[in-house]
């Protein structure tokens, strides 16, 4: 394990809407931290020895870092688009590697078996070819033209549709999903997975959404996403090993897993190995 490469990244540490002066104790990469609001209502994050950590507030969440971030938090242009509803889904803790949580988010082949009759259903199990690349200019992993048949793709969908997805990994423990938007075919719904690494094998997951949906209640939108993520949780807690294996050999990818292959390659290239297992044990 090496923390160095990932230590300068931004990580979600709480919902901005739930900040209070008393503060909430949590952890970041093994270090106890406190997330609070200061006298002016601004977010303040303190590290284990009382040192003040870098802070930014974006996409409904407070972000911090144990190191010195070299760049601003990745941008999600849709977060500034009018007409979208922004949904704080809330935290869910998972006993798994933060990298495993992201990799699962990038996968569609499990939909029929884990999100049965919602995001997938037998016999529609085939994953057709899609495009994957590491975009060198922005240094992000992208998968595009991912198509999958879904019985109930979103709260705003009324029946089965073939949904198109685009996946983006802009930071080692964050992913942004762009998904067919049933009420607005020309736009994409944005669903994100922001993962706070508490330890190498423990994480707090903060999903967030920016959707075009004027009819569904906010609570229904939250519950839909919580349903999906809680279905994944029991999978994530039962993968062996807990850490994400980066060396080939321990796990067998197929064509359907090209996004995960690219994600693992990108992690390895940058030495983003907090939560990863490098040598088969």
């Amino acid at each position: 394990m090496t923390m160095q490469a990932m230590i300068d990244e931004w990580y979600p540490v709480g919902l901005f809407s739930q900040l209070d002066a008393a503060g909430r104790g949590t952890a970041l990469m093994g270090e106890p931290i406190v997330v609070a609001s200061d006298a002016d209502g601004n977010a303040k994050v303190t590290g284990g020895n009382g040192r003040v950590l870098p802070v930014c507030v974006r996409y409904g969440h407070v972000w911090s870092s144990l190191g010195a971030p070299k760049k601003a938090l990745f941008s999600i242009p849709e977060a500034d688009q009018t007409g979208r509803r922004f949904v704080d889904v809330g935290v869910v803790r998972v006993r798994c590697s933060p990298l495993r949580a992201v990799e699962n988010f990038l996968d569609v082949a499990h939909f029929p078996f884990v999100h049965t009759d919602i995001l997938g259903a037998e016999p529609h199990t085939e994953v057709q070819n899609y495009k994957v690349e590491i975009r060198e200019d922005v240094d992000e992993v992208w998968a595009t033209q991912v198509k999958f048949y879904q019985p109930l793709a979103a709260k705003s969908a009324s029946g089965g549709i073939t949904t198109e997805y685009m996946y983006r990994v802009p930071a080692p423990t964050c992913s942004v999903l762009y998904k067919t938007c049933p009420p607005r075919p020309s736009e994409w719904d944005v669903i994100t997975l922001f993962v706070q690494p508490l330890a190498e094998d423990l994480c707090d997951v903060w999903p967030w959404m920016a959707l075009f949906d004027d009819t569904t209640s906010l609570t229904d939108l939250i519950h839909f996403q919580q349903t999906i993520f809680l279905q994944d949780r029991s999978i994530l807690e039962n993968q062996i090993p807990r850490l994400l294996p980066l060396d080939p050999g321990l796990e067998i990818p197929t064509r359907a897993d090209l996004t995960s292959v690219a994600y693992r390659r990108w992690l390895k290239r940058h030495n983003y190995t907090y939560g990863a297992q490098l040598v088969a044990q």
């Binding site: 082949a109 078996f113 199990t125 085939e126 993968q239 796990e251 064509r255």
Partner: protein, 217 residues
Amino acid sequence: MHPDTTGSWTPVALSADLPAGTVIPARIPAGSIALWRSESGRPAASANRCPHRGMSLSHGFVRGEALSCIYHGWSYAQAGNCLRIPAHPGLTPPQAIRVKTYPVEETGGVIWVAMGEPSANPPKFEGFVALRSLMAEAGIAAIEAAAGAKASPAGLVEPAESTGTICLLLSAQEDRQTLLHVLLKGEAGTAARIAASRAAESLRRKAEDLQKKGIAQ
């Protein structure tokens, strides 16, 4: 790896606890296994890990003569070879994709799993019927102390003070846990079987107590 246990049999579960078309988790000295029974009734044991994404196979499901992983539906034959990858319905999975399997035998209502190639059949306990299995947070020494009797080389303990009807077949687990298979000497009626189940619970309480007090190592 486990020279003392290679080729030897471990009693992993009772036959009655593994109906046709189901999979359960179990443990042998080599590690965690997925123990399953096909619809036609044949038991099988494999490593409890799908080689695709490491998901535990005991969370999976049995259809016909195959065990499938709950994560992506990859399915495996009793011989361990991958039969189907649902994401690629047209693909015949390469022979290299397989799970490690272990020999399984059933005798006297007990399912036994071997590591390596066993040189003999699993032990047979003539005249015993299986009642239930229970897990104790106690090592074998504590259970022997509670029972007032030593385990036989085959792992069978005949408690000294019991009503004279129950026997315990022991299987050491991780972290000083022991799986107890409760066997009865001969057929018994409902009331006697319920009494035997309660006697086994009492014995477990006693063994765990001894374990906690550190009387047994």
